[in-house]
């Protein structure tokens, strides 16, 4: 049993890697065969949101920092990369290599202010900072962000292997690689002493301070790391959907990250990943079939929001918590 549990993630990874070679149709779950561009793009978005949700869970589930402004760093990553590629005509790799550290610096500056507060005030301050990002993106300063329309990614600056519809498989692998990076980083932290200190911060900050550790510096470091992971995810998101849109900067995006983490099981190894993948899948799939459903069921957010409220009451450990309990009973 423990062998199976240990090798299960590896097995899933192998299946995910070879998945674009499969022409298997999965009726009801996807509209077209697995290797069709439509299905691959949908899966790629699921993987990206799995990674984004786990990155957010580094703050929320592990360090206990309820940030309402994570969308800011995702949007900064997406728009930063997009602007450098589409306006400044930089090559993609250079744009990403500059954007991610720049967003990390932004996270350090804003985090340094926000982390002087705790609890609810911290949530409000991060929300307010992110709101500025949303306003700036929508106002389209100097024609940089494209306003409400968003900024399409100029394909001239992209490597040829990431441009065509037939190359969707490559985008899928990029998304998978991003998820893998986040998993390696976050699980690495979980295993290191740092992970235990972060959990300690979440549970009782004073006890960590008594040990002579600076809670402020630890939290700021985590905030910056999560910001950098979010920026990378934003860049990958822009690559997959072919541009950056203001929705990425909205408070709704942060709220959905929280929903993902909680739905999957915040603070657990795989909870946020599972939550992110399931949420992104349902969001896209319900939008596809939404027209066929009656009344409020045609709104994906109505179903997802209701599911989320029910999960908070009846499944406090999220999806992974439910699976674990069932495993223990069996």
């Amino acid at each position: 049993m423990s062998h199976v549990r240990k090798s299960l993630p590896l097995l899933v990874l192998v299946v995910l890697i070879v998945l674009p070679y499969s022409t298997l149709p999965v009726p009801g779950v996807f509209e077209s065969p697995l290797n069709s561009p439509g299905t691959l793009q949908m899966l790629a978005l699921c993987l990206v949101f799995g990674g984004l949700a786990l990155g957010y869970d580094l703050l929320f589930g592990r360090a206990g920092l309820l940030s309402f402004g994570h969308a800011l760093y995702i949007a900064a990553g997406a728009y930063g990369t997009d602007i450098l590629v589409s306006h400044a005509h930089w090559p993609l790799w250079a744009a990403v290599a500059v954007t991610v550290p720049a967003v990390a610096v932004l996270a350090a500056l804003l985090g340094a202010v926000a982390l002087r507060t705790t609890g609810i005030a911290f949530a409000m301050v991060t929300l307010a900072f992110a709101q500025v990002g949303w306003i700036v993106v929508n106002r389209d300063p100097g024609g940089l962000t494209g306003g409400e329309e968003g900024l399409p990614l100029d394909s001239a600056g992209l490597p040829a292997s990431l441009v065509g519809v037939a190359d969707t498989a490559n985008l899928y692998w990029v998304a998978l690689a991003f998820l893998l990076v986040v998993v390696v980083v976050v699980h690495g932290i979980d295993r290191a002493p740092l992970g235990r200190v972060l959990t300690g911060l979440r549970d009782d900050e004073r006890r960590v301070s008594v040990l002579g550790l600076s809670a402020y510096r630890l939290k700021l470091g985590t905030f910056v790391l999560a910001g950098a992971l979010a920026a990378l995810g934003g860049a990958v998101h822009a690559l997959i959907v072919g541009g950056a849109s203001p929705h990425l900067a909205s408070a709704d995006l942060t709220l959905s990250l929280i929903v993902m983490a909680v739905l999957g099981g915040a603070g657990t190894r795989w909870g946020a990943v599972v939550g992110g993948v399931v949420y992104a899948y349902l969001d896209q799939r319900l939008t596809q079939i939404g027209g066929a459903l009656p009344g409020p069921l045609s709104q994906p957010l109505f179903i997802l929001g209701t599911l989320f409220v029910l999960a908070v009451y009846f499944a406090p450990g999220g999806l992974t918590g439910v699976l674990k309990r069932r495993g223990r009973l069996a």
């Binding site: 309820l66 202010v113 002087r116 507060t117 609810i120 005030a121 949530a123 409000m124 301050v125 929300l127 307010a128 900072f129 709101q131 500025v132 306003i135 700036v136 929508n138 106002r139 408070a251 709704d252 709220l255 959905s256 929280i258 929903v259 909680v262 009344g295 409020p296 045609s298 709104q299 994906p300 957010l301 109505f302 997802l304 929001g305 209701t306 989320f308 409220v309 908070v312 009451y313 406090p316």
Partner: protein
């Protein structure tokens, strides 16, 4: 000069909206400790109830209907959803987050995502000349309502037994419980009051913007949150002062600065206040 008068009155009108939302949020947070993301939903419900009732019964009936709808939503949410989760603050926040997502989607599925034209009394569309400025009358409606609400709230908090329980509960909830008073009844009360105020803000916001849409509450809510934090959590007077500062700052900087600069300056003010006085303008959270 006329521009300054117009900007001041428009800023105060906006401040009135912020105050109506923020005072309810602030009381709910101060007493029950709930950060209520569903507050924007109360606002939208109130606005849609008025919009729906107006063709049937006329505006004079539709406005109380909207306020009552907001109050009823607030009470219902507290009793059904929040009450089982006291002592679990994170879960409470999460439930209100889920509720705000699902509620807005529900409104959208019933009345569509597009803004609907909102009814307003005929006189509110006219203008009054003050000095050299032509000021639309809806500003006075907003400001007047907010002043009346502020005075009524302060009277209620300082002159009635329930007001006393709420004020004491904000300062020390455990002590009030220890004295044998059922604080939870007061929780339902502040949610109802907050819902009624949010419904009022929804109706007035609909008249002010001339339309109502499902997401309207959420966009006002963020500025109301800022007002609550600047004013000090749990303080009604603090909310009023902060709302005026935020409303005026936003209007003037938006007019004289670059587009969107007003909204940014409000956030800068928030950061400044939190750095200098982390507990907000009122410093200690009391409902004075």
């Amino acid at each position: 000069m006329s521009t300054v008068i117009l900007l001041t009155l428009t800023g105060l009108g906006l401040a009135a909206l912020y105050f109506l939302i923020a005072s309810g949020l602030s009381l709910v947070f101060g007493l029950a400790g709930v950060l209520n993301f569903a507050h924007g939903l109360f606002l939208s419900v109130g606005a849609y109830a008025t919009w729906w009732a107006e063709p049937h019964w006329g505006l004079a009936v539709a406005v109380p209907v909207g306020i009552a709808a907001g109050a009823a939503t607030g009470a219902l949410v507290e009793v059904v959803l929040i009450r089982p989760l006291y002592k679990r603050p994170t879960e409470q926040v999460l439930v209100t987050v889920g509720l705000s997502l699902a509620g807005v989607a529900l409104l959208q599925s019933v009345w569509g995502a597009d803004p609907r034209t909102f009814p307003r009394p005929a006189w509110a569309s006219e203008v009054t000349t003050i000095g050299s400025a032509q000021v639309p009358d809806d500003r006075f409606l907003l400001i007047g309502t907010a002043v009346v609400v502020l005075l009524a709230l302060l009277t209620f908090l300082h002159r009635t037994r329930y007001g006393l329980i709420i004020r004491a509960g904000v300062e020390n909830r455990d002590m009030v419980s220890a004295l044998g008073i059922d604080v939870r009844r007061a929780f339902t009360l502040v949610f109802t009051i907050g819902g009624a105020l949010a419904g009022t803000a929804g109706v007035l916001g609909g008249m002010y913007f001339g339309s109502v849409s499902p997401g309207q509450g959420a966009s006002l809510l963020i500025f109301a949150f800022i007002v609550v934090v600047i004013g000090g959590l749990g303080s009604v007077t603090g909310s009023a002062v902060a709302a005026v500062v935020v409303g005026l700052l936003q209007q003037f900087v938006n007019y004289y600065g670059a587009a969107g600069a007003g909204d940014v300056s409000v956030v800068a003010l928030l950061a400044l206040v939190l750095l200098l006085r982390p507990s907000g303008l009122a410093r200690t959270a009391v409902t004075a």
